[in-house]
Symmetry: C5
Subunit: 324 residues, 5 copies
Amino acid sequence: MIVDCAQYREGRRAQDAPLSVDAAAALCTLDEGFVWMGIVDPAPDELEHVKERFGLHELAVEDAQNFHLRPKIEKYDDDIYFVVLRTAQDDLELDRLVFGEVSMFIGPRFVITVRQGTASDLHPARLRLERRPELLAEGPISVLWAVLDQIVDDYAPVVEGLERDIEQIEASVFSGESAPTERIYKLRREATDFYRAVHPLLGPLNALENGAYPEIGRGLRQYFRDVNDHAKLVNEEVLAQRDLLATILQANMAVITVEQNDVVRKISGWAAIVAVPTFIASLYGMNFEHMPETDWKYGYVFVVALMIAIGAALYAFLRRINWL
Amino acid sequence: MIVDCAQYREGRRAQDAPLSVDAAAALCTLDEGFVWMGIVDPAPDELEHVKERFGLHELAVEDAQNFHLRPKIEKYDDDIYFVVLRTAQDDLELDRLVFGEVSMFIGPRFVITVRQGTASDLHPARLRLERRPELLAEGPISVLWAVLDQIVDDYAPVVEGLERDIEQIEASVFSGESAPTERIYKLRREATDFYRAVHPLLGPLNALENGAYPEIGRGLRQYFRDVNDHAKLVNEEVLAQRDLLATILQANMAVITVEQNDVVRKISGWAAIVAVPTFIASLYGMNFEHMPETDWKYGYVFVVALMIAIGAALYAFLRRINWL
Amino acid sequence: MIVDCAQYREGRRAQDAPLSVDAAAALCTLDEGFVWMGIVDPAPDELEHVKERFGLHELAVEDAQNFHLRPKIEKYDDDIYFVVLRTAQDDLELDRLVFGEVSMFIGPRFVITVRQGTASDLHPARLRLERRPELLAEGPISVLWAVLDQIVDDYAPVVEGLERDIEQIEASVFSGESAPTERIYKLRREATDFYRAVHPLLGPLNALENGAYPEIGRGLRQYFRDVNDHAKLVNEEVLAQRDLLATILQANMAVITVEQNDVVRKISGWAAIVAVPTFIASLYGMNFEHMPETDWKYGYVFVVALMIAIGAALYAFLRRINWL
Amino acid sequence: MIVDCAQYREGRRAQDAPLSVDAAAALCTLDEGFVWMGIVDPAPDELEHVKERFGLHELAVEDAQNFHLRPKIEKYDDDIYFVVLRTAQDDLELDRLVFGEVSMFIGPRFVITVRQGTASDLHPARLRLERRPELLAEGPISVLWAVLDQIVDDYAPVVEGLERDIEQIEASVFSGESAPTERIYKLRREATDFYRAVHPLLGPLNALENGAYPEIGRGLRQYFRDVNDHAKLVNEEVLAQRDLLATILQANMAVITVEQNDVVRKISGWAAIVAVPTFIASLYGMNFEHMPETDWKYGYVFVVALMIAIGAALYAFLRRINWL
Amino acid sequence: MIVDCAQYREGRRAQDAPLSVDAAAALCTLDEGFVWMGIVDPAPDELEHVKERFGLHELAVEDAQNFHLRPKIEKYDDDIYFVVLRTAQDDLELDRLVFGEVSMFIGPRFVITVRQGTASDLHPARLRLERRPELLAEGPISVLWAVLDQIVDDYAPVVEGLERDIEQIEASVFSGESAPTERIYKLRREATDFYRAVHPLLGPLNALENGAYPEIGRGLRQYFRDVNDHAKLVNEEVLAQRDLLATILQANMAVITVEQNDVVRKISGWAAIVAVPTFIASLYGMNFEHMPETDWKYGYVFVVALMIAIGAALYAFLRRINWL
């Protein structure tokens, strides 16, 4: 579905209402401005139509229809860039990360953005860019910046969400109230998925920053460097989080084992407190003819008192050595 | 065994019936088109015959007869490429991965593909290529693309199978119903084997994409880039799976230990519930002359009631602290 | 808040009193000397004012206002360097590392340093540089050296603090007195945070040392090499500390388990010492008519003596095999 | 000890009987053919003599006398290559890997091979090369290929031996019959030693393949590429084996712990089956006057039956929850 | 303290008695030979004096006074090399590694070596070099070789010491007599410290070997390659040792846990042997009127025999399943 389509000339939007595919393709033949068409979850024939009108490469169109790709920035021979980006979002309801994909075709006179899955809405990027005519005037490549900038900015809350989850897990591990092994594992899996969305982007972003594509002017390149900086920061943060989660898994194990030690000590302590009086009781349960104590008047009271004294002494001793 | 052999001229298959080795070799001397010969599990003398007629290098022929090689793309001095690829398949009956090998000799006027082991059938690649005359017209190198494309596409179900297995293992680990250590290990071993089939291919595929071989036109190169993209994706997925499996192994360990804690607590709890009444019983088993309770009429009933009360109180307490 | 601002000409400070922003900007238009303005925790409009007067790039100003960035050294087209540095300090009260940020704008005629968070005071760097006119005479880039030098020097006590903490943890782990899993984990997290402050700086420092920026004379470059050396040393030390902490976590686990073994043995030993006499007691509690020993005069004394003897023998034996 | 020495001219061996050092050195001054001298475990003065007659570099001769070196291929200024290779063999008697060393001096007119320790016999390499005059005719460098080829081929059985050992360990770990920690460790150590024999060879082999030494013709280079391929394969296999062994060590740990859980459960189960009847027995051991059951005629039979019933019920229950 | 100082001309020592600083500095202005001054633990003012007379760079002198630096080889603009090396020694008394530092200033006409801490004595290097006039004649840079050679040679006994320690630890872990966790950890820490002394040296040594410094003639370069070879070997050995020690730590853990299993089984076995007879005893301690066995004449003997039989049977059974 085409959600918006407009021509931009001299840094300004030329039409308010969205253009049709054919009208847009016609405008692309002019030697002026460029068209930005935004498509969401396209039907195959829709994309086929766009492909024919804009002369897109079949491999790129195939990729734009697929899902679960690596982020990449490629240039085709006919000077058309094909870009795949992965968006990430913290789905608060499902309490897990959801990923989406944005594909872009960037020709000399057009930009086609294709959103798939739960990809971030690109409308804010369009509005932001429209407010900056000096960047828009740099041509279609400025749209690449606007989209990259938004997607990478949208990574920040994901990193923060992971950070929050890690802090909760730390608290839970070290308070000893529960051993959140499953949660640590799931979070590590999410961090890995997220890392795979971010990391492959760094290579192409470096290429953009370092001027591998001469179409991109020096002024715009500083904006790509800015995006690259943010992506590198996100990448380093996720790497550190993965490392932390691996360490927590080990710390968790140590905490569980220490707790086991405590449990075993506590159990044994109480067992001792019961076992010694039981022994004394069975002692006086023996059927010997000549057991002087059994004939004493206060023998029973004395023995019970002895049991209580021994139990109390053991309890005090075990407390002192921290077994209870 | 030669399973198919035909000459391709101007993007079309020239003969319907398979050619003999000698006829094929003769056609190769012409300055037009190329021959594609498909061999499966060749006998040594069969390969020797092909080697002589097509002038293949002894080292390449030796490799094509061997098994368990690294994937590679080599160029011999006489402009003959020698390619080794590893195919992977999920053998559902054996419930494990099986690997096969495809060797290719690519000369200016011929392509010889040699399948070994449980290598994927290359017939679909041939049919697909025959339906695309514009690629066939690029010469023998287009066959390299067709074969690479099919083999790398065939990796996808393997990755999905590993993914499914990992999800089953996750469920099994965290449900605590069993500790699938052996299965985790076996899967990690498979993932490593698969990684070794895929990873060494990336270097040569990058070389193909980046134009290290000038015979490959720019148009075709975009098709190799597409294959490279898929191979990189598979590679990243397998790497992530290996990492996950290592983490599961650790998580599994933590889950086992937590379960051990639970078992120890449960056992100790029941032991306490039995031990305290046992102590009371042995108390009243003592043979003192003067034990007032033993003379009471309801002494016995009272003591049994006391035991039940203490047992119940212990049970309630242990439930509350989650030991039972 | 502007904390100091002065022009430096021919290696000397030109004014004693701090300049205003406008005065400083005016002096920058002269073809002589440079201005160094120090700002601490700037208000947004303050920075906006500076930006307009000194013609700073919007992206750089945005970064200078943000927090939690990667250290970096960038050059903008208009020959203005933008530098982000992370400072680290051991907060003895909170007993944890605190990080601050210093951003620098370095133009041909000015240096603006912006401190944020608990960043180190830069006044000592200014004083040190003022005492070295021959370096000051190299222009604004000498300020970059002075600030880098101070910040990297300030890393040293942090490394030493981590080292001290590690030694305490080692002592505590191997004395067995407590299992400081949480402390190991927290320290490893700190070391990771610190590593992330230091590591990204190495790339730009190498570029400075190797002459990537021709503005920096050969003489000054040796001073940057010196800073780079120190940063590399800090980086290697932190890496080694992270590795050590991971190893301690494992060693800790082994120590805990050995201790568990000891506990289990000790408990079982005492259990045996109690269980055997208890068995003997219950033996003589049997109600057989014909139990000769029960009729002996010293039967009881003999049996109690037997119990003590067996208990003592068991105790001696268990001591000998180190179970008690 | 010189084991063989002959001159090769136009691809053929010139003398049947081994030459003396002096005769060989004299032949090296001619402008034709080359001499191949094979030495085994040389005495220092023997090597000194060879050094003087062939003008070898003192550092190279020193290395040829030492043991436990890194594999390397060096070129000295006087166009003499010095090569150190490590051979590996599975000593079936000692059931461990033994390593040997082969040093080579390769000049324009001579090759001197020095075997040390349990290095592979090089005679087969000589015979194989003598059967290929076209390679021999390429000069002394063809001997480097022949020796490299044999040594790298001899790595294959070592890899297979490690593989067999790993499979045995896997079977042993997962059958639970024993915990082969020591064997896993020893094997990992061997794999590491072997890796260190193979890995440093890859760099020089790559240099040989990529034409870093112009003396080596393009035809011969394909033979070095073949050796390189095999070495890379061995290297990847050993790396994968090391990784597997690390994983087995962890899996082993998990299996041991699961087994521990089983043991604890089994013990506790039987303890319960004994403890409950013991409690009942002590109940009826109490000395109350009024215990109606004790007066019943079949009280005893009933209680014993109750004990058996409870024991059986517990047994059935524990079986059902897999504790027994 | 200056320990030796002499001028070397045409490969020979010119004076027998040590020169003073001023005399040495004067000789450096001549266009012939070079001066080698050896200083040990210099006082600050001593170094200040040397710095002024030889025109050393302040940064280099600062580094030479510091301790705990990274090994490095730097060149200052005035053609003076500054070298920092770390020496390592096995202190047999303290049973740990001690590190020292050697700094070198190498100008066109002088070499100043500064030893600090427990750095190796450099006198042997001087004597060895004096015996090789042809190397001495290459100028001051030959001293760099002689010092590097000695220091790297001195690493060998350290590696061997670590190897011996590892073998002792292996024996101790697998004999099960003790769990040397602390010793493993301490050794790993030492190996890491040693690695940090050796590893940073490889980069500069490679640069020396590959001719990055044109002052070094091709002949001498082969000597630096020799040192580089040894350093690379040491580096690989230490890396392998660190890896081994990490594996031992894990193997240690597995051995401890297996031992724990054994202990638990042994304890439970003996508990069973005591528990069953105890149950029988309490059975016959019941106070039922009608317990036929209690009236039998040999009831008591029979029951005791039964207990012994059951105990023996249990013992035999538990031995057979390896629990005792």
